[in-house]
């Protein structure tokens, strides 16, 4: 994975900085430059599309933001997935020389724009988890597995919300594939689990004998 973009405003936590357009654009550009240096793949950035992606992400972020402090940690992961979805929707970068990307056997070359968006979102996610929850993001083999990237590209082309589940997968977490675009609070997940257990218990209960 490319190196993490450094937080440009050390006075503010990343979770706050990321809600500022200048930080978002500067760190995204830094990530893009880093990937260009690592892979030799040149990108062209459309600042207008990136700004539109930022605004859409912020709206989606605020729309589902939970009030319960217990949901802060899971929402940090979900918000990174939302960011990936809006980046894929707006597609703010394009390849300068698409003909030069020939080795399709590694994710960076198979889908360079997708790889850039994923690494950026994972790096922002990792920075928030480390700063706010003292948690290290795991590195998982799926991030470099070409079959996963085939599936990622194909599924997000059909439904961009699948990006939220794939970012969970790339971050080593269990994705919610049923409704990936809907944040489910810890409380809602507990209730869903209890409901499921209750249904299983009812199914396993012996039927009363008929008189």
């Amino acid at each position: 994975m490319a190196n993490a973009p450094l937080p440009l405003d050390a006075a503010q936590p990343v979770r706050k900085s990321v809600r500022r357009l200048r930080w978002f654009v500067q760190t995204f550009r830094a990530q893009m430059v880093q990937m260009q240096a690592d892979t030799g793949i040149a990108f062209d950035l459309d600042a207008g599309k990136l700004s539109a992606a930022f605004l859409d992400w912020l709206r989606a972020f605020e729309a589902q933001r939970p009030g319960d402090p217990a949901d802060r940690r899971p929402y940090a992961g979900f918000a990174a997935g939302l960011m990936l979805r809006t980046l894929l929707d707006h597609a703010p970068v394009r390849l300068v020389h698409p003909e030069q990307v020939q080795k399709a056997d590694i994710p960076e070359h198979f889908w360079p724009e997708g790889f850039l968006y994923v690494t950026y979102c994972l790096n922002v996610r990792a920075a928030v988890l480390e700063q706010d929850f003292h948690e290290k993001q795991r590195s998982v083999p799926e991030l470099h597995d070409l079959r996963t990237w085939w599936s990622f590209r194909e599924n997000t082309a059909e439904d961009a919300s699948a990006a939220i589940g794939f970012l969970d997968l790339f971050a080593g977490e269990t994705p919610d594939w049923t409704m990936p675009g809907l944040f489910r609070s810890a409380d809602a997940q507990t209730r869903a689990l209890q409901d499921a257990r209750s249904i299983v218990a009812q199914l396993n209960r012996p039927e009363p004998e008929q008189e």
Binding site: R20, L21, A47, G48
Partner: protein
């Protein structure tokens, strides 16, 4: 009928002269280097006069010079209620600088910026806070046709030109209201970001232009995001 405003000192002529030269530059598209051989052939007194005039020549090359931080700081104080001298002229320079960078000049007609009208508009400013001042200025600059094909009049300015002007003014006021950058070059990068944000929120802008209150509220919200 009130007496017409007549210049009382040569200094009063500086802004109108810059307007004329700005219009000539924008319309003729002649680089200064192309004029130099002709200027060298003129008699010495006339050459010296033109040399002094050239010092007033507005700089129309967007890459040439970053914004002057002193002007920017002065204008922001002025929007907060400071009535010091020279703030109106600083605003006129800031407006001209921003329009050189963010106004879309792809239309059929050349849009011109009148620094004279801009300074007069800023001089009339009375608002309780910076966001209200920005909304006041936006409305007054539009109503006064300060940026137009023929500044001061609506003549020749098409509806699509008005949309381009509003997008540029949107960027200008977001820039003036947002957090300051550390360097003058970084300020111009932030101005470019403001232009990108203005482009991305055209529908929101169209709705906010309905009233002073909605315009002020939109600027307050969006400038906090930059």
């Amino acid at each position: 009928m009130p007496a017409p405003h007549l210049p009382t000192s040569p200094d009063d002529l500086r802004l109108p002269l810059r307007d004329l030269l700005r219009g000539a530059r924008r319309t003729l598209h002649l680089p200064e280097a192309a004029l130099k051989p002709a200027l060298d052939m003129l008699p010495a007194p006339l050459g010296a006069f033109l040399h002094r005039v050239s010092a007033l020549m507005p700089d129309l090359d967007p890459e040439a010079r970053p914004v002057a931080r002193a002007d920017l700081d002065m204008v922001i104080r002025g929007m907060g209620g400071d009535k010091s001298r020279d703030i109106s002229r600083a605003f006129a320079r800031i407006l001209a600088h921003a329009m050189d960078r963010v106004l879309d000049h792809t239309g059929d007609d050349a849009l011109l910026v009148s620094e004279t009208l801009a300074a007069m508009t800023f001089g009339d400013l009375e608002a309780p806070d910076r966001h209200g001042a920005a909304a006041d200025l936006w409305i007054a600059l539009s109503a006064g046709h300060v940026i137009a094909v023929a500044p001061g009049t609506p003549l020749g300015t098409a509806p699509e030109d008005l949309a381009r002007i509003d997008a540029a003014l949107h960027a200008l006021f977001l820039w003036l209201l947002c957090e300051r950058a550390e360097t003058e070059t970084a300020e111009d990068e932030i101005l470019a970001l403001c232009a990108a944000l203005a482009t991305a929120t055209a529908a929101e802008r169209a709705a906010a232009l309905a009233s002073h209150a909605t315009l002020s509220a939109m600027l307050r919200h969006q400038s906090g995001l930059i």
